[in-house]
Symmetry: C2
Subunit: 196 residues, 2 copies
Amino acid sequence: MAKQDRAVRTRQELIRSAATAFDRNGYALSSLTEISRGAGVSSGALHFHFSSKQALGSAVEESAAQSLGDIIALPPREHPAPLRHLVDTSHVLARRLDEDVVLRAGFGLAADATWMEDVTLWRTWRNWVRTTLTRARHEAALSPDVPIEDAVSAVTAAVVGAQALGRFDVEWSPEYALTQFWNLMLPRISAMAPAE
Amino acid sequence: MAKQDRAVRTRQELIRSAATAFDRNGYALSSLTEISRGAGVSSGALHFHFSSKQALGSAVEESAAQSLGDIIALPPREHPAPLRHLVDTSHVLARRLDEDVVLRAGFGLAADATWMEDVTLWRTWRNWVRTTLTRARHEAALSPDVPIEDAVSAVTAAVVGAQALGRFDVEWSPEYALTQFWNLMLPRISAMAPAE
């Protein structure tokens, strides 16, 4: 492997190891020793890539923001209808939050009282929900009696809530909870009656 | 003030000071020095009441559980209909989470990766939501096409999500978000058509 490839890979492994530590123990209690050990590198190698734990935190958040950007940029191929696209994308986000520790840790930093930087991930998600619902309104797919901001709030909070409950309640599946939310909400906000 | 009253009050002030610290900095970064100082007592007095920070964490959670118990025990006086009672109580919970730092810190411990004990507050809330929706079903107030578990999930997650977003997004008001959620959800789950 070329030297540069190895450096890129080490950097990614450090980000993943930091995300795993933040996700498990929170930002404050994660140590650089634990993070370099988790990545299988020396603490010298860690310091070559990241000057501080804060730099690692920012890198985790940046990497999560990139993944979120990829998720919301997915073209609505099979279901061009905006509401269907919204439902599908919320499910992709819930599943990726479950599978991808870097994405989950990035969102986790927003809720971590010991991480003092501003985290924009939920705002990015909310803005995308608003854009998609606005498109639904223009295409007359959104029921005319539904104010866009009501739906933006309900959808944003549903994904956050499903994810947060999954974190501290083993009986709770975020994806299943989201399915239940949409079972109720989609017929309510759709302009057309649900298919029988 | 009698000695015993003073002891009770000191204990409550320590719980409030601990909750303030947990809420602001998370459990791991809250120090006993900061907590005793916040309560205006010596560290000796703190140790007289609590043997450890963990004992303080448990006391915060217990006190929050008691407040939650009071909230869900409120009799539905003005609106005996179960769905109206559910909406009202969810608003009381959202408002109390905003105003009462001990209640908020208790729920916060559930999401705090550095607090290792099991926190039952959200389960208590979910069980109460289920009981209330089951009553609505028996009284034929819940639309027959709404599965109870779908509504339990959606309502539980909505309150969690509204609260969690309020924590890391200053533009977000948990109470307003909950109002928006109910604007959409109540007509959907009610057996009767909404009033015009």
